[in-house]
Amino acid sequence: MFKRRLQALEYEEYDKVDANNLQHVKKLVSWLENQKIRHYKIDDRGAILDIESQQWPATYEKYLEDVGCPQFETPLDKVEWLVGLAIRLEYEDNRDTYRSIKGTKKKSDQPIVKSTNPLDNLDFQSEDFKKGVSELAKLLNIPQHPNHLITLEACSKFICKRLNEEAVKNPGSVIVTGQPFPIMDTNAGFKIKDPFLNKAVTILSLLYIQDLRDLQTKINEAIVSVQSITADPKTDTKLGKVGT
């Protein structure tokens, strides 16, 4: 997971670190503190560098607390965070050097985010992946677009809207029970001679109206949330007077 970052830090055994192996962790952490993080003064580093000691795990926990590591469950997360810290410190030490580096290709302008999400490391263009998307779409009864990524987007929308926890529990809440409406008979606002184009324009105008509706609903929600702070309607019948 952090192979490349360790490589960047010039850690010798960058490709062999296993965060679940205590020996590996000991070695890496002591190296990081000594070379990169340097949180303790040199004289105080004895305990964390003494990787043979029985007390090391406790020292490690104390160390994590001292450098401000949040509470993580797994040893992997802890190491991951320490490596991140080291990278940051390394960057700050040499900020000027790094700043002058400009990408040679346009693509590398964008920082390469090394994600821990395994999905991000998939090859989205592989045949295997395409086949998977196609099967998913068939399963969900969604028409397929020539670009499988768009098909995937449609699947994702469908799943988020119709198959989320709430919706599965209470399907009535999301299934629209409106009256059938002859959408093709609606007037798109302008007429085009070509019947196919006209159909497309009608659909687009309906989709546009739906977008507007979503926007208006959000506006209403914003108003309502402000009202929860400002609203205080009062009446005073003593003020009232019926005329003649």
Partner: protein, 504 residues
Amino acid sequence: MVVRTFEEEMGYLEKTSEYSWRIKKGFQPNMKVEGVFYVNKNLERLLIEELRNSTRPGSVGGFLPGVKQIANVAALPGIVGKSVGLPDIHSGYGFAIGNMAAFDVSDPKAVVSPGGVGFDINCGVRLLRTNLFEKDVQPEQLAQSMFDHIPVGVGSKGIIPMTARDLEEALEMGMDWSLREGYVWAEDKEHCEEYGRMLDADPSKVSMRAKKRGLPQLGTLGAGNHYAEIQVVDEIFNKSAASKMGIEAKGQVCIMIHSGSRGFGHQVATDALLAMEKAMKKHNIEVNDRQLACAPINQSEGQDYLKSMAAAANFAWVNRSSMTFLTRQAFAKQFNMSPDDLDMHVIYDVSHNVAKVEQHMVDGRPKTLLVHRKGSTRAFPPHHPSIPVDYQLTGQPVLIGGTMGTCSYVLTGTEVGMNETFGSTCHGAGRSLSRAKSRRNLDYQGVLDKMKKMGIAIRIASPKLVMEEAPESYKSVDDVVNTCDAVGISKKCIKLRPIAVIKG
């Protein structure tokens, strides 16, 4: 002025189709554009009769006939398109009530006229729906409950506590003030013309006198032709549009509130007329009728009026919103259910006395116009960006209040209206008898008995004035609406029948 015989006058009028008449230039002096009015046979008779009476020797006093007023408006500087008379037209101060006139904002001579807006600025109609049906309600009880909640009548005072500072804020913020204070729902704003707030309102342009008159009157219905009615759906003409408005079947109960800016708007208009008379001398503007006092849109007098008018419009929206709040309370108490559970949503809220800056096509080019609608309702077609998203496919709902005891309508805006009348249609029945004439000819007890016979519960603050508002004093709203529908400037969607009325 030349005196012409009736026959000579009629030479300037030309019937161009079953429902429309053209008023040629020359009918009144200096006409910049032609006039047009839309009438069916019955309404035509009334208008022509009015013109005939005015040509009789010795007839003096009162307003000019409606058709003459349309032509005088056509003579105002900067008018574009046509001076349009809607089917419910009847004479008013300067402009006839039921007259739409648009002025080109980019023309330095173009004017704004308070007479083209009316004294009751942003008088309008709001329609609430419920999920109740006729069989669920007791009209007598409901009428009493509404009467207990909403102060009505001349000199009535509201029950929502307001300080002078609250008023300033309300004038600036319109319905946003009601929202902030929690009197209305977020969805109410969505379903309101201009979203319930005219952004160029400037309370500092409003006189102290107007504010003093307005402060205690917020949240009151007022008198005259204003009312709150419990209505039931009598007929649905366009099922899918009605369903978009939450109206599903005959018998469904709705509440219509017809009110305006009370004394506040009246004072703003009065103040403005004085300022305009001075402005006319200063800018050398000549008009055919003193009542058409006006000022150039882009001069300080015109701008000041528009800013104070916008404040009065905001006042009217806060006023209708406050009454919406009181109505919801009345229903909640009566049915022991929350207004939410009663589905008491605002279907729409229209203004029929207002001037607004809008974009329209003139001779195939987009232009920015100041559209005066006096006794005329905006009726924008489907897909217009200024109408709520829910009505993008149906067209803007247009609320047409009938008179006491007669039906009301919901229409929808059309493309034809956009092209012919700058998106304007009728506003109601329109008077046929003057107030004084109604008082002389009708007996108030008779009017009340008639209501009773029709099964309409009525609560009224001043019964002795009820004959002014009797159906006999008005044109037939069915004639008016059917004419608009036939011309195509708006289409019928829902017909509503009253079961209970409260009035000033």
